[in-house]
Symmetry: D2
Subunit: 413 residues, 4 copies
């Protein structure tokens, strides 16, 4: 598994300049059909409906996460010294494969299939896949070791933190990449500086105190990306229309709708046990083709929702202060002839820039002070302390169709 | 048709910073379902298989062409003065819609359907479409006027040149955009400078002599993009596998293959008269879904070709000097059990940086000399003269499958 | 004064792309010798000793401030409507000239000459200068009107706020420019977005609520630039050595040192009434030439300090917690044979990201809420509220020479 | 001399991201006063009068050349293998120091002092300098070895080619850096790609054939930088006024002008044997201070020329076709009361994109063909062949003062 490629192979990348590959096993995994499938899943789901350049795939993001981890294990002196050569390969592979289990538009799709993508990633790594065959061809024990990092259960906690902590390679790549493709300067932070200040102390990834400004900057970048991109009301609107469509699809499926039953890409997920073959087949092309088919359904609700997604006639939205305002809108929606179950949705968003001591593992960022102690970030950063102790930003909106519009515009294709 | 939006609307764009829209008609056309469909057609077809960031769509390119034209008619003094307000709107609309007729992977698809995309663009503009309805709602005569620009037949030749000349908004946007997303610095040229030096003289778009360096740079950018991106052998390999698949699809269709007959997205194009509804339905999602279905075909050739495309197991290539070398490869391919008709292809690429006096209309770039005369570019640029008089770069390659490989790797999904 | 140039003139600029000039008066002012002198004053004083690319001058910054104001008065709808054409020209000129009174290394130089640069700017505008002659050649009343904006006393308060408020063109340009040339991503914020959300309400420049994220980002950018660049300890060290040198120069001058008396560039400022001719002559070349001369002084203190500046042998520094630690260092410095008066300095830095309700005029940023009211920023931004209510970051350091070093290294040139 | 710094030190740089230093000797050389002096010499002389951001110094350029060489000897596999550790250090030091002998505005200054900067670099390295002391403190033989690379005489020809060939680190850095700071996109080429395709073959630095496009691009970049920046007529105008001033200075000096005799920074260079101490003292601050003093000279010619430089009232220019046109202008200049000796200059510029087989050593770029042979670039590149065989661009201009202007505008400071 330490076998080198003949020469270092490089893939140009707009974020990292080049992705460098000099291990044969990495090169083969990139070529595996499960990894190639990630080219067919967009990183930001429907957000390209707002930010038209945000058309980038999970394929390029996954390469980016791998590249950050590759640099970490080669350039961060503590990691270079404290990880074994095997651990370095394991964590690079885990970084590459951490998103291999993604389905299209992850969150909305949970209305159909509640299995989390991490579970599919695990199943692909340990199951009957190209990926699995490649890993086994080098070392059968790699399989469970890689899978354990993805589950945050590797016995060396450093590996888990590299792939999924508060300051992990996954977030670092997606913030930079999503910022770049949405054209928001907000997500930019100083990756070079952070890499230069990372240390390992007491089984923790920590940041030297002199790098604290870069971390403050990273936290603000994250916060702004949430409000400017991930929670953008038009992005949310797309997601909500999609959720309504899947909700209706489940309803129709359970009521034996013949057209839904023909949608071979979705049916296995409406049932109990989708296989990794079913998973492989459900890329964005299949999903959108299915949705395009639904524009011709006899069920008016699902046909309308499908047309909304395809032709970008999403829901309108209003900020609301309380439940009553939502109820009023629900009544208006019903009065206009729409079923509020699918056409009226209250969405509450809240995001703190950084929440130490939350329950999830790895929710803290640790600082290595000049005197050599480890402290939680908000104890050392005046700015972060203010943010942690201040209020949490929260907003509620109600989403609903344009109540004046008519849909006669279609040519009926 | 000159009605303004309430305030200027902007769409962030990585190339132009912002796309500015302040005409209601433009805003509505962007929202039309035929224009929204362009989100589902990649600008560079399969090139993202080489340049993994090149996932951008014709939607963003079309907005970019519109934006360049919008700037031309507002910022280039001669255009501002010499075009009527109506002509300005017409040419902006034509810029926006010039690619609306594109099908997925244009060139390869010609094996199935030889109708050029300009023809579909025309049909959509004049036919039963959202786009047509919007145009008519403002002014019925707009329809034919916009369509005439797209056909290079508008009575004001300046409009035609703006959209499709040697130095047109279309090329300027795609060079910049494709360069950006492929990460090659080659495609960068100085758009600002070119816009500042454009003039109108004797019904020609010309460039002031002081802008000649920018034009030299643009020509070199174009030349390098051809060899580095558009003619990249792996991009070509993808295109060739795709062409073989479509060639086989036509063969199977003509022989009554039942699976091909079920592929509703392709069938209308295999027949005689695809409608604009058929065109609307055939986006990349549909095409790739169809190809994914073909991986399960009983026909081994098409199933193999489909798997190659999906899982990126493209053809190998070698540079060849003559037909004999091609014949030798053909024999080897046949010996290995492959039908050379689908598995062996000779590809000859040639590209001159700039060819004045070629037969196509608008093939020259004109320079306005300091003394006020109009001269063809190569008469005024020492560099361009050298390039025009020098040899034309030409390369032949043969494409073929890896003759040592086996396909047992698949899990059979 | 509204006379146009024959065609819009442009100056390429790394921050704004182009600086656009289409008024003859602006073009002449740029060509004035007082404005050209700004090419010889670096924007960041000695910071290029830390950030080696930060060699940019006040000339390019001043053009940048002008360009932002030019865009504001043309692109911000409220300003376009509510300012008269005359006011637009006045504020653009004031933006261009606001820094014309700068001397080299402003703050340190106050040890020699306590006159603030705004005073010199005023004197140049109203005095016997090229700038004054140009203004008068258009309209004599322009002189006092431009000067009043620079003094924050124009009768239209909007003009004052545009040039020097909390969200003024001056800060916006220097943050972007300094960030660019220091290579820190911290200073980047979204100028386009801010320009798009600026409104005028009740004689105040305000920002629409939808632009609040850009303003949060701008405030964080400012905060980070302070700590990463302006307060960088090596930048501070340079400033402190420079202050010591000027302090010693005053001492020597008052004691009749003959060499100092020969330094024609400094002498007028050591006396009582430097003229604007004296001001004109004291650019960075003159100042550094004077400092270079001092390396050959018989006074060992000033000769050593001058060599330190020239050859970058600045002071060391340590973080200290209290006055006692400073006293201890002072004793060590004295013991090593240095006069602590020049060789030991306690420096306390503190910076709040944003302080509404501070005493200075214009210290608030105002937000226009969706309901049309004007609120102070921290009332509408959860983040800013946290920062305002949180602690203020404060750090003390002591600066001193390397107590182990010797200065025999010089070749004695 | 192979001693490492405690940890890799980095200096942010806008071109290379970071300059990396991990050898103690490099760190000390950067800190030497002769190298620090390069902060006080602009890279592009007076070009910042045209491109106002082009204020960068030879200090940052020299760091950039060092960084490219550092990457070459570490990342180019052939160099990594074929150079000894000692040679790697030698060539990195030579790269760092290659410009240490520069005086301000090199070419114009030759009217005063014809000694080339390479000679001063040599003298500084072998003479009584900080630089020499640092080298000797590690290894006395380093001195002549480093000096030999700078003179293109090192016994290993590869080292000479790395620092000064046709595709050397010096040119690669200055093209990128000058392009960046002038804001012209022309100078951008793909450094990464070139570094990846460099090989060593038969004692030559060569480029793999697959990198030929990057080299074509680099040649065009170079060509465009010449015409757009280095030969820009306003940059030339500045240089010509400067040359006239130095010519007049020599005349006055030879005629015993008392003010010139007082200009201590220039006098040693007007005489016979300027020392390296004289060289050290003549930085741009001293030179410009001297020029500012000359504005007050009794000699009207030199006073006028000095004011022109300081206040940017440069010469006008016209394109001319032959000597007669020059003679006519000379007559007009004389008639207007100017001495044509200082006020009329004919300037002929010519630049071929690439000239193989020119007489200078190292004038070719070599390509390593796929079959392993070495060929001269124009034999393998269709584009370069065309350029080499085409005409050479040549332009003549005459420079002269605005014959209508008067100089009464000065306030007489």
């Amino acid at each position: 598994m330490l076998e080198k490629t003949r020469e270092t192979k490089v893939l140009r990348d707009v974020i990292h300049g080049y992705i460098h590959v000099d291990l044969q096993i990495i090169w083969e995994l990139i070529d595996s059909k499960e990894f190639q499938r990630l080219r067919r899943i967009r990183q930001l789901g429907g957000d390209f409906q707002v930010y038209h350049n945000a058309e980038h795939s999970r394929f390029s993001h996954s390469l980016g996460v791998y590249e950050i981890v590759r640099r970490m294990v080669h350039e961060v002196h503590d990691l270079q010294m404290k990880l074994t050569e095997r651990e370095k390969v394991v964590v690079m592979i885990a970084a590459l494969l951490h998103d291999v289990g993604h389905l299209p538009f992850s969150h909305a799709f949970e209305h159909i299939c509640p299995i989390p993508h991490e579970r599919f990633s695990y199943d692909i790594i340990v199951g009957n896949s190209d990926v699995n065959r490649i890993l086994c061809s080098y070392d059968e024990e790699l399989v469970l070791e890689v899978a354990s990092v993805i589950r945050y259960q590797h016995k060396n906690p450093i590996l888990n933190q590299i792939v999924s902590g508060q300051l992990d390679a996954d977030r670092m790549d997606y913030l930079l990449r999503d910022a770049y493709f949405t054209g928001t300067s907000y997500g930019a932070f100083d990756l070079e500086r952070i890499l230069r200040t990372i240390r390992v102390k007491d089984d923790k990834l920590v940041v030297k105190e002199s790098g604290i400004h870069s971390v403050e900057n990273y936290i603000m970048a994250r916060y702004h990306m949430y409000w400017q991109v991930y929670y953008h009301p038009v992005c949310r609107s797309y997601e909500i229309v999609l959720s309504s469509l899947f909700k209706r699809m489940r309803y129709l499926y359970e009521n034996g709708d013949p057209m839904v039953e023909e949608l071979q890409m979705f049916v296995p997920f409406l049932g109990d046990h989708p296989s990794i073959c079913d998973h492989f087949d459900l890329d964005e092309n299949a999903a959108f083709y299915g949705i395009a088919r639904l524009t011709k359904s006899d069920d008016e609700v699902i046909a309308d929702l499908a047309r909304r997604l395809l032709n970008r006639r999403l829901f309108e939205y209003e900020t609301i202060m309380n439940d009553d305002e939502y109820k009023q809108m629900e009544a208006r929606v019903r009065l206009a002839g729409y079923d509020p179950n699918y056409y009226c949705y209250m969405d509450t968003m809240s995001q703190s820039p950084y929440s130490p001591y939350a329950k999830e593992s790895g929710s803290n960022i640790w600082v290595l002070t000049e005197s050599g102690e480890v402290a939680e970030l908000s104890q050392r950063s005046v700015i972060v302390k203010s943010l942690v102790e201040g209020d949490v930003k929260k907003e509620s909106k109600v989403y609903f169709p344009d109540l004046g519009e008519t849909y006669g515009k279609d040519c009926g294709c």
